[in-house]
């Protein structure tokens, strides 16, 4: 059988990734064990929730959604955002984007898997999930979301896989590493008999380009439908025409911040300075501040109009966000660290180093989560009629350990995925370097 030939440059890259592909150290095993423990703990929380009921969560009759929905909206938003970035970079063949596309697609894939799990956690009856299909009502935004998310997940999985096939073939054919036989079989299966003929190259190229093209409108639709889950309710803070655009911008920004974080860790761990260069961080940081800037503008536009017009029900929500007695600290700090600080710092050229950019990106990642939480909970705690309930847990939402355990398990799943991926495949594509040097 014909095998994929490598040029010098490609062989060099392959050897860079050799160490982590071949063996794992003690620290690595400890880290994976720690993450597995976190996921197990989340599993225990979920068991309690299913066994006893949602009474073990902090959600009650007014704040009927909490951490779960905030996390769902956050992760699925990140997934859409990074999928869009990967698709655009691929479709327009952005020269500097090449080593980033794979990481972006992987972030999109795993966030797309984690996100929907959280909406399932929020559903009272797991045993009736199939009703969403057999009794589907097309008038409901949830039905739209079921359709859009399920097709999106197929799309992003196919797109990510297409980006990986050629490198699976390289790993199948290489004699540089001592892989156990199960790994060889795995690569053999995943490479789909790709041998590098020009016909195969053309097919993969066409398919990937079509998928990239499809992903962009798909993601726009997915964003719109998800934001309409909130936008279609009679609730101030949700029913706003800017909800969708604002959510799109915030999610792409969060996705880019997460990609920067993953890039920084991989670069440090696997010494990838030749591939993930400083300029990659600089370009990404400039996109990041453009997006958080737009998000800041949308935020201002949304709240200044409701504050200025001061309609009673609407101002109740806005006042809660601005008041330091309610959500003020969270709101103002999230805006400062997630919007203002990154713009101010990255505006100076000399601060655009990978480490500073990564630190700011982490702030954006946390701040955007807080903003997601603040979009979900305060409007729910502010109904039209006064709550007047003597039970404090019915007045203010406060997450319990069960919700925390599952949120942390979600984060642990994200980390464990990015810990395990470099064991399977090189995180920077090898196959893309063929044309450059041949």
């Amino acid at each position: 059988m014909k095998t994929v030939d490598l040029n010098k440059k490609q062989t060099a890259i392959l050897q860079t990734f050799g160490p982590q592909l071949e063996k794992s150290g003690t620290m690595y095993r400890l880290w994976v064990g720690f993450l597995l423990l976190m996921i197990l703990f989340g599993g225990y929380g979920l068991f309690r929730q299913i066994y006893i009921g949602h009474v073990v969560t902090g959600m009650r009759d007014h704040a009927v959604w909490g951490y779960y929905i905030a996390n769902f909206v956050y992760f699925i938003g990140v997934s859409y955002g990074t999928a869009m970035l990967a698709a655009i970079l691929y479709y327009f063949k952005v020269p500097w984007g090449r080593p980033i596309i794979r990481i972006a697609a992987l972030v999109a894939f795993i966030s797309g898997v984690i996100g929907p799990v959280f909406i399932l956690l929020c559903i009272g009856r797991f045993d009736r999930l199939h009703y969403l299909f057999i009794h589907a009502r097309v008038q409901s935004p949830i039905t739209w979301d079921v359709m859009v998310i399920s097709t999106y997940l197929v799309g992003i999985t196919v797109f990510t896989y297409l980006l990986l096939i050629k490198d699976f073939a390289i790993l199948r054919d290489t004699d540089k590493f001592e892989f156990p036989s199960w790994r060889k079989k795995l690569y053999n299966a995943l490479a789909l008999r790709y041998t590098g003929t020009s016909e195969q190259d053309q097919q993969i190229g066409h398919s990937t380009k079509s998928m990239a093209f499809i992903m962009v409108p798909k993601v726009v639709l997915a964003f719109a439908v998800l934001s309409w889950i909130f936008g279609m309710t009679l609730r101030p803070g949700w029913r706003s025409s800017i909800f969708g655009p604002s959510y799109v911008i915030a999610s792409i920004a969060t996705g880019i911040a997460l990609i920067i974080g993953v890039m920084w860790v991989y670069r440090k761990l696997y010494k990838l300075e030749d591939y993930l260069k400083d300029e990659h961080f600089r370009y990404m940081s400039l996109i990041l501040i453009a997006l958080v800037g737009a998000f800041g503008y949308f935020t201002l536009s949304e709240y200044i109009t409701s504050w200025y017009t001061s309609m009673t029900w609407e101002s109740k929500v806005t006042d809660k966000l601005l008041s330091f007695k309610e959500f003020g600290w969270a709101f103002h700090l999230a805006n400062f660290f997630g919007i203002i600080l990154p713009i101010v710092v990255i505006a100076f050229r000399r601060f655009r180093t990978p480490t500073i950019i990564t630190a700011l990106s982490l702030l954006v990642v946390f701040a955007m989560w807080v903003r997601r939480y603040l979009t979900v909970v305060p409007p729910l705690e502010t109904p039209l009629l006064p709550i007047q309930d003597a039970r404090p847990e019915y007045v203010h939402y406060s997450a319990t350990w069960v919700e925390w355990s599952l949120v942390l398990a979600g984060a642990a799943t994200f980390f464990i995925f990015f810990t395990l991926v470099p064991k399977l495949i090189n995180v920077v594509p090898i196959s893309d370097y063929e044309k450059e040097t041949n």
Partner: protein
């Protein structure tokens, strides 16, 4: 009465330790609490009643061991979804008569076997502005004609019937709580844990008209007691109100009644300037309010019945 309902009743009588019917008490069915014993009843002596057991014996039991069970007609699944033909149920609540006696709340809880902290019907203290007077505001489900909750339901678990009622089929509900976020009146409640209803209720055939048995992880709410309407009777909140604040009736017949007086719906609304709450939201509620003018009691009186911790909630409003 249909055959299946006969069977249902026979099963019910077999299951109860001492299930009996009293012909003289008509529609009401009484059953002994399972743990209740005769010795205990004899020891207490007072307040005993004679009841006839299914095997024809006359026994005397303590009244406290009897539990009030609603007799409902057994209807098909389709009937519970389409509603009573030719009806258009409507409710009018006279705010001038409400003193927060809370009899409607407890009657509703008893009717639907709800625990004391679960209220399908709530009474709020409203104060429209700084200088206006506070008043008590009973809130049922408004059974809107343009219901935002029904729009968003992904599985057709909550639906609008031809008789105007919005009901929840708790065997269909997946518990996504989207309807709860969509309802601007915070009408809906969720079964966060087990509802804790009597054991024999669990065997009751599920029916959207009664919401019995309650199901953990599903949404429920005020249903206007359509099972009572089907038998030509008023919802329990209407009957329980000592001041006759609730009027219930049929808009097609243009008649509403609070149990003691029966009036023309259109005349009542015209004379007393009836209005619907949150008209600007476009939800088209089926519940009308009569403004709290010429109140029969001062609003402060409503605090008397309340426990201390609840009273604190209203401090700012007086």
């Amino acid at each position: 009465m249909s055959e299946s309902s006969e069977n249902g009743r026979r099963d019910f009588l077999k299951k109860g330790a001492l299930g009996v019917t009293l012909a003289a008490w008509g529609q009401l069915v009484f059953s002994c609490a399972p743990e209740g014993g005769h010795d205990h009843a004899a020891a207490e002596g007072a307040d005993t009643v004679k009841v006839l057991t299914p095997d024809g014996q006359l026994v005397e039991v303590d009244q406290s061991h009897l539990r009030h069970v609603h007799h409902t007609q057994d209807i098909s699944y389709e009937e519970s979804r389409t509603g009573l033909p030719g009806r258009k149920f409507v409710m009018v609540i006279d705010l001038a008569r409400c003193t927060n006696a809370r009899k409607c709340v407890t009657a509703c809880q008893k009717m639907h076997h709800l625990p004391p902290d679960k209220e399908w019907l709530t009474v709020k203290l409203m104060k429209d502005s700084e200088d206006s007077e506070p008043y008590w505001f009973p809130k049922t489900c408004y059974h809107c004609d343009n219901p935002p909750c029904v729009k968003v339901c992904p599985v057709d678990a909550t639906f609008k019937r031809q008789d105007g009622l919005v009901l929840v089929d708790n065997t269909r509900c997946i518990g996504c709580k989207f309807c709860m976020t969509a309802c601007p009146y915070s009408t809906r409640v969720f079964n966060w844990g087990e509802r804790g209803e009597p054991a024999d209720m669990k065997t009751h055939r599920a029916n959207a008209e009664t919401s019995i048995p309650g199901q953990v992880g599903t949404v429920e709410k005020c249903d206007f007691c359509p099972d009572m309407a089907r038998m030509g009777q008023l919802p329990d909140c209407v009957v329980a109100c000592p001041n006759g604040a609730f009027y219930f009736g049929d808009q097609n017949e243009d008649i509403v009644t609070n149990g003691s007086e029966t009036v023309r719906f259109t005349e009542l609304i015209a004379e007393r300037a009836g209005y619907r709450y949150g008209e600007e939201l476009g939800t088209e509620p089926r519940v009308y309010y009569l403004p709290p003018t010429d109140r029969i009691f001062p609003a402060e009186k409503g605090l008397e019945e309340l426990p201390e911790e609840s009273r604190k909630l209203y401090e700012d409003l007086f």
